[in-house]
Symmetry: C2
Subunit: 320 residues, 2 copies
DNA sequence: CAACTGAATGTAACCGTTTACATCCGAAGC
DNA sequence: GCTTCGGATGTAAACGGTTACATTCAGTTG
């Protein structure tokens, strides 16, 4: 049976003749190698775990896509698990993957150093994706949320807007918090007083964007510009504004975040902050693969993916 | 070590005292069960394989979401693999999952009975998702593509349109073919002559929709209605029409397919055919789980998920 | 022709669990 | 005090492969 194993794995130790002989018999018997057994013996599963807070929306699917794309080229699979993870669930999810993956990509605000020490105790390969990363013991990739939001709001301020509202992302969300931080910093740097009345709540859904816009319209001195913390909310706001007969960008300027494919197809086309989400997944996966394949490298990497302003019609900067 | 195993698995054969004793020592030693070894011994991986043609676009991410949602409730994971599968790649992908999953969900037009017999030889649990399914030996779930397209085109015809164009989906795609079939049947039943000049090519992308619309506008006797085989193309067409100064729905009526979330937020809101994609994933996963958990049931199930017309402004049926 | 090669094949331990079966042990029955 | 009994624990054989090491077997050498 050693020879069979070697033949199947194309080892150079078997002659071409035996290899073919084995192949022929295997075919006749309908033999197929058992992946699980193989990885038990080799201690390599060629699988990476992907832990996501949820699978909803374009963002996550794009991330997964990027990950799978890079990973499958080198013969790896993705074992995905999406749960809105509170600490205990997250830990359980990690544990359940423990003998099935070579490493994990973790996207969860809930991940704490304590969990890591207790369940990952020591050198289990992990790359954090878009996490607050309280723990510098892990590699992590993030989006330039702060910078992107800052650029957007500065752009709106440069267009002459003095009262700029924000529709915030989901409470407790890392991206949301960073984008808010960028908004506030840009406001301050533009010499604009912070005003919590124009910091509307939201949760990244179209509906919450529409609601915030309606609330804004009811204000006595309503803002002349809105920065929505993602495109879905921006599009929701756009629909609400149109319904109320308020013209974008003439009466209210609007900017989003994420630059989803749809952004360029709404009317007016949505000014947004572009993030190459698929690339984020790719880079993260590549980093994890490097840890798995390459020699142990103690260096921890913290990488930030740029977010670039894309100016379209909804902010009013463009003619026609 | 048998006792440890029993303690970890909460077997009723160990006393509470030993169970706690084991737990304490496990904690001190940082012991965690090895999933791979466990599944080798039990011959259950609690994992299902999901084979997709690609991961691009809202459709696939929604399907995965539905699958993962149902599957995780019963403690299963998803091992996903997305490759544009030609026959050989598909077979390789299945083989590579063979000892790692309890069953697979397969979404691929390339799946043939021959592959199945060669690599699945016999009773490996499979559920086909939106496949042409040449092989009645498998359970399969599909979308009512034909019926949905038929309803849409009949609707347009009832609004008085005589020349109705279609922007087709990707060549070789099963959904695309079915939607085309529905379009043609509806045309015929409405007493409208088929005309290959108004059957435009497309590939499900926004850009291809825009191109088809531009080509249509250049025609001497241009159609008064367009049925795009998915919403992305419809939105692309919408953008092209607007650019050309052609009003929707006044000059050209437009309908899409899929009813993606964005459909209601474009202007005018897009008439479409609604399919609950997430539910498609859920149902498929539930079917596979039934095969895995329940007793072997020889009955093969072919299920079709309904597709329902959603009338919005873009078709011109609604006032204001 | 015996000893020495080195490539090809065979043997058996191991990967980390589960589980059928054997064993142990204390309480109850005689 | 010696069986009997049943519940808790221990033993060892799987599960299906990989791989270090031992062995075989030609084909050289001296």
């Amino acid at each position: 049976m050693a020879t069979v194993s070697r033949a199947v794995n194309e080892s150079s130790l078997v002659t071409a003749a035996t290899r073919q002989h084995v192949a022929a018999i295997a075919r006749r018997l309908g033999y197929m190698p058992h992946g699980g057994a193989r990885s038990l013996a080799t201690r390599r599963t060629h699988t990476i775990g992907v832990l996501l807070p949820d699978l909803y929306g374009e963002f996550f699917s794009e991330v997964i896509r990027g990950i799978d794309l890079t990973v499958r080229d080198v013969g790896y699979h993705c074992l995905v698990s999406s749960a809105r993870h509170n600490g205990a669930q997250l830990e359980a999810a990690i544990r359940s993957m423990l003998g099935r993956v070579d490493g994990v990509i973790l996207m969860s605000p809930e991940f704490t150093g304590e969990i890591s020490r207790r369940t990952l105790h020591g050198g289990f390969p992990v790359v954090l994706l878009n996490c607050p990363s309280p723990d510098p013991a892990f590699d992590s990739l993030t989006i330039a949320n702060y910078e992107g939001a800052y650029d957007m709001v500065r752009h709106l301020a440069q267009l002459g807007h003095r009262r700029i509202a924000i529709i915030q992302g989901a409470a407790g969300n890392f991206d949301a918090a960073e984008r808010l931080r960028g908004y506030r910093a840009a406001m301050r740097d533009a010499g604009l007083a912070p005003d919590s009345d124009v910091e509307f709540a939201g949760d990244f859904t179209e509906e919450s964007g529409a609601e915030a816009a309606r609330a804004m319209l009811a204000m006595p001195d309503r803002p002349t510009a809105i920065f929505a913390a993602n495109d879905c909310m921006a599009i929701g706001a756009l629909a609400a504004l149109r319904e109320a007969g308020v013209s974008v960008p003439d009466q209210v300027a609007l900017g989003g975040f994420d630059d989803i494919p749809m952004a360029r197809y709404v009317t007016p086309a949505l000014t947004s902050v572009h993030v190459d989400i698929s690339a984020l997944g790719e880079r993260t996966a590549a980093r994890l693969l490097a840890k798995l394949e390459g020699p142990a490298d103690a260096r921890r990497i913290r990488d930030t993916l740029p977010a670039t302003l894309v100016v379209r019609r909804s902010c009013g900067a463009l003619q026609n």
